[in-house]
């Protein structure tokens, strides 16, 4: 019994040691597990730093968005103003504007009326006969026409120039592009019956937007195929 106990002693000590070691291990393990602070873990820190990083980005983005929103709203205000302006402009332009017709003179002769003075007929020819040649011209200047002079000649049926210095005027008018206006003259008869009234040139006074309230003049000769009229 005593011999046996002696031989078993190291084994028991060993077993004891293992048990203690196991207990210590288990205890330390448990303590380690319980006292483990996940917030000190690298992966936790990474997540946290990622969160911080992301939140900073969000903050920056939101601030950018705020600025952009402000910019957008300002631009929208500008746009609204611009639209309002454009709408008004469009209305004005559609009503009054118009593109000039290419290949045609700035003042297109639409019609010419020789118009005899009605008083002549009314008085039974007891007074001198005057004609009131009227030139209906279309504003093709591409500008607002403020006045015009149409120079014309009266050519007899034999080809002789009966009057070479006719000037039909119109002034103090506002003629929008594409609209017509009537230039008028008064000329004393000189055997004009059967003669032809032929426009020669014109002189158009138009608004000049380059300088407020200033005007400029456009003048040109009429081509040979210009509209004419024969005096009855």
């Amino acid at each position: 019994m005593r011999e046996g106990s002696k031989s078993r002693k190291p084994i028991i000590l060993m077993v004891g040691f293992i048990v203690i070691a196991a207990v210590v291990f288990a205890g330390a393990f448990a303590v380690g597990r319980v006292t483990k602070d996940p917030t000190t873990d690298q992966s936790y820190k990474e997540v946290t730093s990622q969160v911080t990083k992301t939140e900073n980005q969000i903050k920056a983005n939101r601030s950018t968005t705020k600025e952009l929103t402000k910019k957008r709203d300002e631009l929208r205000e500008d746009l609204a103003e611009e639209k309002k302006q454009a709408e008004a402009d469009r209305k004005v332009f559609e009503q009054y504007g118009g593109d000039a017709q290419a290949g045609k003179p700035a003042l297109i002769v639409e019609s010419i009326s020789p118009d005899e003075d009605p008083l002549y007929a009314a008085t039974g020819g007891s007074i001198d006969l005057y004609y009131y040649p009227k030139f209906t011209v279309r504003n093709n200047t591409g500008h607002v026409l403020l006045g015009a002079v149409v120079k014309y000649t009266i050519i007899g049926s034999n080809g002789n120039v009966l009057d070479g210095e006719g000037n039909a005027y119109v002034s103090n008018v506002v003629v929008y592009p594409g609209k017509t206006v009537v230039a008028e003259d008064m000329v004393k008869d000189a055997g004009f019956s059967g003669a032809t009234i032929k426009p020669v040139s014109f002189n158009a006074t138009v608004a000049d937007s380059k300088d407020s309230d200033s005007t400029k003049t456009i003048d040109a000769q009429y081509a040979d195929d210009v509209k004419t009229v024969t005096i009855p």
């Binding site: 380690g32 483990k36 946290t48 302006q85």
Partner: protein, 296 residues
Amino acid sequence: MSQDNKKNEHKAEESKEPGWLNHDDSTGGHNAADTMFEALDSWLTAVKHIARGIIRHHGADTDEDSAEKAGKGAASAHIDAHHMASPAKLAVSLVALIVVVWLGGVAYGLGGKSVVVQQSPDYIRESQRLTWANSDLEESKQDIANRERQIKDVGTQIEELKSERERYGNLLEEIKQVQRQDKTPELSVAAIGDVSQSSSSYFAITATVHNQTQYTLTSFSVYYQVEDAQGNVVGTGFAMGETGATCAPNADCPIRSLTMNNPTGTKFVPVKWGATASDGNSEYGRYGTDVMTKQF
């Protein structure tokens, strides 16, 4: 139990057999837990002695040690005696201690590592925050993209409007310009009358102007045009006061125009005004489109 009793008991056991064996026999059944605790006890005692041995010269106070150990039980004393007797055993114990401490350290570390950080509430909370943050970040990026798109859209629209206005060019400016009065009219149009046949050849148009000046006007006239429905200017003329008539300051004064062209069906539009004061000073100006007009 008194100290003496314990000591006696201890001595008695020591003389017989090792305490742990004796105990084992006396209980009859082999209890694993008991054995474990005894072993632990023995071992801890050994550790204690090793510690003491390091501090003091061992052997000199064996008895005293033994006496102190009385409470720990007979077995400890027995093992103790063996340890004290052998430096080899002391070394083994020291190694065992180091191993245990090391094991404890390792276990502590492993225990920490055994915690799945990804499943800890802290980590989960942070992960959730990250998820929200990422979602918010996406949203904030979309917000920026939206704003940029909106700004681009608005910019495009503004550009389109600008180019449209450019297409209108200077003409629009001209139109606007001629539609504004160039100065405050000295003669405002207060009323426009109807057309009447003045004679066999002439038609009369009457109107009333208001003298806006502080001067008596000796001449006051309004230049007008008459327009057809298309806006063509079919006639022009001017209306003025009767010969010799004057217009007092701030007074309404009649004007009249005679024309050979029947204005019926046309629109009467004042274009300009002219006023000459009694001091001979003349002023002319253009009306704006806000001037009074009349459809005959």
